[in-house]
């Protein structure tokens, strides 16, 4: 039987359906798992994404031909049947299930198995072949329980507020920033947001996602106007003159990479909170097991170690080369991680 999905120069391709999933080169028809820049690119003739992901994709890509689909609804595209299922990565993110002649493959984009109170929780989808990321595909990456993490962040904010310092936390504008907003305790103080974060907030609020009250940082704003505030900024804004306006401040990054002491120290922030919108080691392994798939493709992250591990566990495991950037922490702008770009 021919493969349901193939891996091409332009992206993941379905011959039977004649469409691509998260392509990185311009193609006619693209199915998009979620709105992050390395999965949702400009230049496709037609796009298809979930209802919940569509507003952000439009916000980022502008005037595009974008059709939408609710989670779980099956749709026929040429010789293939596709459906979108929650990936738990960011609001609206999806795994894409493709069925051709009874053979089911799932392209999972980026995913996270633990519910974060914001994104639609991850749903395992039974399949024969599963295409997985492995950004954090090593056993040193194990996330804290959500309530422990939340308590750490709130304690840091409260201690800063009590000492008269502003708390500035760097988090990617789509997904992680809103996840922080939903988990922190707004009774500690006011919450200010960087423009890029607030623009995404506006899009998400407009589609009915509940976020706490936030105040957009404006050029004339002074720290004294909002004592004890938590500022949610993009990672690249930390350490710039934009951040210095808040006077005495404690800075933090929120990223899965903060699990590593070396990376934490390299960031030169006061604190590093281990917050990720990707699955940790246990999450990846559980997700794969629950698909029931025997054939696994690792796309981005620690692919060679993860492939070997899966092969030794008895899977028919392969590495495929893509242009998704989950692994890298090296992009320009000092503080952004690849995870942030992903």
């Amino acid at each position: 039987m021919a493969d349901v999905l193939t891996f091409t120069e332009s992206g993941i391709y379905c011959p039977a359906g004649d469409f691509y999933i998260d392509p990185w080169r311009p193609v006619d028809r693209a199915l998009i798992t979620h709105g992050h820049a390395d999965h949702s690119r400009w230049g496709m003739n037609r796009y298809l994404a979930t209802d919940a992901a569509a507003p952000v994709i439009r916000h980022r890509l502008g005037e595009i031909d974008l059709a939408t689909i609710p989670y779980g609804e099956a749709r026929r595209i040429n010789g293939a049947t596709v459906s979108f299922h929650p990936a738990g990565h960011v609001p609206g993110s999806a795994q894409i299930r493709v069925e051709v002649g009874g053979e089911v493959w799932v392209a999972s984009g980026d995913y996270k198995t633990v519910a974060d109170g914001l994104s639609e929780p991850f749903e395992p989808v039974r399949c024969h072949a599963f295409i997985t990321e492995c950004t954090f595909g090593l056993p040193v990456f194990k996330w804290l329980e959500e309530d422990v993490l939340t308590a750490q962040i709130n304690a840091w904010w409260a201690a800063n507020a009590a000492a008269g310092r502003t708390s500035i936390i760097g988090a990617y504008a789509l997904g992680k920033a809103q996840r922080l907003l939903t988990c922190v305790d707004p009774s500690i103080g006011p919450i200010l947001t960087h423009g890029a974060v607030e623009n995404t907030n506006a899009v998400l609020r407009a589609q009915g996602i509940a976020l706490p009250d936030t105040i957009r940082v404006t050029p004339e704003m002074k720290a004294a106007d909002h004592p004890g505030a938590l500022v949610v900024a993009t990672p690249s804004a930390l350490g710039t003159s934009w951040a210095r306006r808040f006077g005495p401040a404690s800075t933090a990054f929120a990223s899965g990479w903060m699990a590593l002491r070396g990376v934490r120290r390299r960031r030169a922030a006061d604190r590093g909170f281990v917050v990720s919108d990707h699955a940790d080691w246990d999450g990846l392994n559980t997700a794969i097991k629950e698909t029931g798939a025997t054939k696994i493709f690792a796309t981005h992250g620690y692919t060679s170690a993860f492939q070997r591990w899966l092969a030794e566990e008895g899977y028919d495991a392969h590495i495929v080369s893509t242009e998704y950037t989950g692994e890298d922490m090296t992009e320009e702008g000092a503080s952004a991680t690849d995870e942030d770009a992903a």
Binding site: L138, P139, V140, F141, K142, W257, A259, L260, R261, G262, V263, R265, R266, A268, D270, R271, Y302, A305, R308, W309, E312, D328, M329, T330, E331, E332, A334
Partner: protein, 529 residues
């Protein structure tokens, strides 16, 4: 251990000196004496030695975590730190413990002396009883690799704040070969006069690299001498016993047995600051010769004749049993000259010569001749300056010669570890031999974080082959490398070995074909080797 872990976290999280000092001072005010003593010991580099091999620890950690050893190794390679890797891969602690730092160090010692089965059981149960951060510190202590981002100077400052003791006096007290087993908090910090310990060295005065020659004032305020390329040492002779200390406070007395004869020629109660140099026919031998002596606890006869050492004396800290560090440099130097003059010419002792000059131009010219004298440049010392403790700006400056340089092509890259985990920071460089690129050195430092990030992204896209952690990359980028010396080396394919190679800059402007050649390197070897 919980309090110690909290202290470590406060220090580790912050980049601000004041926060680190305050955290330590708080700890010194509240912790029990034996934990404080261990903390001072650990923060001044007196860590317990590793007695259990890293191999065993890896095996036990992998087994306990239910992962294959190769996967542990892969993880270690990314994390860059064994103790951290272990503490991250292990399952969460199931027991809880509120035992002290001193207890766990005692436990490490107990297990060190035990058989393998007891060790394994003890370590597995410790890992299981300690939550993440404490487990990490316990394992750091176990592997003998505990380090902390606080200098001794800052630790001493915190100690001074917490005890109301004088900082310089405390610095002196903390010198020497005490361990928490041989002393108590009270004896070390509170009661005893520091000079009662006969082997105790004075804190070394360390110079910074010269920043601004024009700010130094007239050259006649300064004394210049050669900056020797040997091992800094403090020679102590008190009550007929001698001791030789390295700058890192290692006792080197037995490594350089020829210096024992100085007991016959120096007056009792003498402490000299100088450089241990391999030396023959009134000239220093290359650092290579001295290198053969480093790390050897005992010295075979052959080496004693091949690489004999002397003490090149440049300062006198104690004269006739009196601490004279507060005297002006010129006075100390005059006393030192008298002492050295009384020793016979056969004694392994020389007075480091001063470079006579009336103006900076003369000194600048002398500095240019440093390499011919096996020196690294000049040391400038203000004539009226006291001998200070630790690294201070103002009175002593290193004025080193510019490094030798060569333009080379990057051909391999490897990820760094620790702070540089996940960045490609370790490169192998090559020069042209005809149309072949011949590797000749590695270098790790000298670029900015932004440049390392840029190269890392490039390496990922331009990998030709992977050999384990090493990636062969497309030859394309040219770097200017700086180094302090060059020697013939049969062990290297290129036939040369460099001393202190580092990247001076990334030559974006230079096409690969214009990098230097093996012939250029050989020419440098002939000139400076």
């Amino acid at each position: 251990m919980k309090d110690f872990a909290a202290l470590y976290a406060r220090i580790d999280e912050s980049t601000k000196t004041t926060v680190k000092v305050a955290a330590l001072a708080d700890y010194f005010r509240t912790a029990p004496d034996d934990d404080k003593l261990w903390t001072v010991a650990l923060f001044s580099g007196r860590r317990p030695k590793r007695t259990i091999t890293a191999t065993r620890l890896r095996e036990w950690a992998a087994e306990r975590s239910d992962i294959p050893l190769w996967l542990f190794e892969e993880s270690y390679h990314i994390v860059g730190d064994l103790a951290e890797t272990i503490s991250l891969v292990l399952p969460d602690a199931t027991a809880t413990s509120d035992r002290s730092l001193t207890f766990w160090i005692g436990e490490i010692k107990r297990l060190s002396a035990a058989d393998d089965t007891t060790r394994k059981a003890g370590i597995l149960s410790a890992w299981d009883a300690l939550p993440g951060p404490q487990r990490y510190l316990f394992t750091k202590l176990l592997t003998g690799s505990f380090r902390v981002g606080v200098s001794r100077k800052l630790m001493t400052r915190a100690l001074s704040q917490a005890t109301d003791g004088d900082e310089a006096n405390l610095t002196h007290r903390l010198m020497g070969d005490w361990t928490p087993e041989t002393t108590t908090w009270e004896r070390l910090i509170e009661t005893t006069d520091p000079s009662t310990d006969l082997s105790r060295p004075y804190p070394f005065y360390l110079a910074y690299g010269l920043e601004d020659l024009d700010a130094l004032g007239p050259a006649t305020d300064w004394s210049a001498e050669w900056k020797w390329d040997g091992i800094r040492g403090q020679f102590i002779l008190r009550e007929g016993e001698h001791h030789l200390w390295s700058r890192g406070e290692d006792l080197m007395t037995d490594r350089f047995p020829e210096l024992a004869q100085l007991r016959d020629f120096l007056p009792d109660g003498t402490v000299i600051d100088g450089e241990v140099l391999a030396f023959r026919d009134e000239a220093p031998l290359s650092f290579n010769a001295l290198q053969s002596r480093i790390g050897r606890k005992t010295v075979p006869k052959k080496l004693l004749t091949e690489a004999p050492v002397i003490l090149m004396a440049y300062d006198l800290l104690e004269d006739a049993g009196a601490d004279i560090r507060a005297l002006p440099y010129a006075d100390r130097r005059a006393r030192l000259a008298q002492i050295v003059a009384k020793a016979p010419a056969t004694a392994p002792l020389r007075l480091s010569p001063t470079v006579a000059a009336t103006g900076w131009d003369q000194l600048a010219a002398a500095r240019e001749s440093s390499r011919d004298r096996q020196a690294e440049g000049l040391m400038l010392k203000r004539r009226d300056s006291p001998y200070l403790a630790g690294r201070r700006k103002g009175d002593w400056w290193k004025w080193k010669v510019d490094p030798l340089t060569i333009d080379a092509v990057m051909i391999y890259a490897q990820q760094g570890s620790g702070r540089r985990a996940n960045l490609f920071t370790d490169y192998t460089f090559a020069v042209w031999d005809g149309d072949q690129l011949v590797p000749f050195t590695k270098a790790y430092s000298g670029l900015t974080d932004a440049e390392f990030r840029q190269i890392t992204a490039w390496v990922r896209k331009n990998t030709l082959q992977k050999f384990g952690p090493v990636r062969q990359v497309t030859p394309e980028h040219v770097f200017e490398l700086g180094f302090e010396g060059i020697q013939a080396s049969p062990r290297h394919k290129s036939g040369v070995a460099l001393r202190f190679p580092r990247m001076l800059r990334w030559r974006h402007d230079k096409p690969m074909k214009e990098a230097n050649t093996l012939a250029d390197l050989k020419e440098m070897l002939a000139a400076y080797g």
